[in-house]
């Protein structure tokens, strides 16, 4: 009986130890939660590759600092995505690595920028001054040299018991004046997953 009690205690401890309420994991690694959807490793790898690829493109910098509006990529996959997360990550990587060589323009907050401009000009709020003490008011909001756009596409297959998803994230810089595509690159990945027997 004592042995039985010891065995049961050990079993209870082992089962109790199986649960890990929270742990930090490397966002560049696949987690163990399964699924073939888009995850943090895909996002980070895509944004990193796109940022490096843009910075290596001399043509973009030939006319000085390029002004860029980044648009959310179009989602054509079967996965629910907060597409703005790609935009934010690419901007962050480019800002970190470009050392001021790229100037981004925020169009998401266009309405509040317009409102702030009106408030400053009406005297309702104070106007910041530049280094020489002059009012720092731009004649007009910035126009852009390029649009950075993207699309996420996928080829998905399933047997009901397993699924595979090939996802391609393509980004391009489009000349805002001529429509010319001055740069394009992509990053792709493929994942396969299978259900455990009780879900088949």
């Amino acid at each position: 009986m004592t042995h039985l009690r010891q065995a049961l205690t050990l079993l209870a401890l082992a089962l109790g130890g199986c649960g890990t309420p929270m742990q930090r994991v490397d966002p560049d690694q696949d987690d163990a939660l399964g699924g073939t959807g888009i995850d943090s490793a895909d996002l980070r790898a895509t944004a990193d590759k796109m940022a490096r690829s843009i910075l290596a493109m001399d043509r973009v910098f030939a006319r000085g600092t390029p002004y860029v509006v980044v648009q959310s990529p179009e989602n054509r996959t079967r996965f629910q995505i907060d597409d703005s997360i790609f935009v934010q990550k690419i901007i962050t990587y480019l800002t970190q690595n470009a050392a001021g060589r790229v100037q981004f323009i925020d169009r998401e907050h266009w309405e509040i920028i317009q409102k702030e401009r009106q408030l400053k000009r009406s005297g309702a709020v104070s106007v910041p001054v530049d280094a020489s003490g002059q009012p720092n008011l731009a004649a007009a909001p910035l126009g852009t040299d390029y649009f950075l756009t993207g699309v996420l596409q996928a080829i998905s297959k399933s047997t009901g018991r397993a699924a595979s998803d090939y996802v391609q994230a393509t980004f391009r810089l489009v000349d805002a004046e001529t429509g010319a595509i001055v740069w394009q690159d992509d990053f792709d990945w493929k994942k396969v997953g299978a259900s455990g027997v009780i879900y088949r």
């Binding site: 089962l15 399964g34 699924g35 995505i81 455990g196």
Partner: protein, 380 residues
Amino acid sequence: MTPRLALRIAFALCAPVACSAPGTGEAGRHYYAGRPAAAEQLLLDRSARDPDARALFANELGILALDRRDLDAAYQRFLEADRIMNAFAATDAKEIGAIVGAESSKVWRGDPYEKAMNSYYLGIVSLLRGDGGNALAGFKNAVFVDSSRDEQYDCDFAPAWFLEAFAHERMGDATMAARGRARAAELAPACPATAADNLGNLVVVVDVGRGPTKANAGAHGEATRFLDHPAAPAVVDVRVDGRSIGSAAEAGNVHFQATSRGGRVFDRVLRGKAIYKSGARAAGIGALLMADDVPDKFRSATMIGGLALLLSSFTVSAEADTRHWTSLPARVQLFRGSLAPGEHEIEIVPSDGWRVAGPRVERVSIPERGAAFVYQRILP
């Protein structure tokens, strides 16, 4: 212990055992009785205590949030369920436990029709939120999960094809939109909304009635069957600014979706467990009946063996998991028509005393180009 006493114990063990019914049935009853607040409270209370059915609770809560047009909450609920339902988890102690013990002890990930409906609702909510990309992703995934299974089945849920086409239309992809519309027309030719030449600027989706109920069947509950609740109002009128412009027509049958996907691999496991239960019970009772007739030196061993067989028969659960999404509709109806661009009040009016679950009147802006979208749920 005498063989007679052992037999009495055996019969007590074999008596039907009242099982607690896991799932969301009670919340479903509140929902259909017109008590969504009570349903929601019950779901919130139970979801905290039953993390294995989190996706099921999230789906039910998503429907309630959609009905009251709390679109952000609805999206988050359906997304939470989507993440669980579409994960491919590795075999773990839970899975092994569900094979050895009750199937309902596993993490609920839903049947294929429930996965398709989860994606359908992600699409509906995304359309209402004006998120074209995720609306397309939702309907695409609804088509995807309803297809497959060794490529024997192509998606036959016309509303998913129709709405995928509509999402493509909104994203400016005329080719893919035409393909989806053609498939929807093929599957639901009697529904005027799916006609290839119907490109009206108002699209209405009406979820009608009570979805299928999943119940146990077989001697040990090892099989499942779906009960249909086909009741529907005779007419679901679409009124614009107080005037009828037509009625919605059936395009999809959720009960058919639940019952037309063939069997599961796990059904074979449950059948095997049911056969074992019956066999072990018969052998155990047989051994106890024979115990009086065997020589004394074998009597104890025969009784112990018989009781062990009965005990194993009692403890092995062959019952199939019947947890299911109770607040799904029975049918999906569609309407597509044309209105003058501008602001309009749209009202979905069911006949026969049926009621709408969402706002009675929706104020909709019909654009100069493209189409507006209206969703409504109607209940008995």
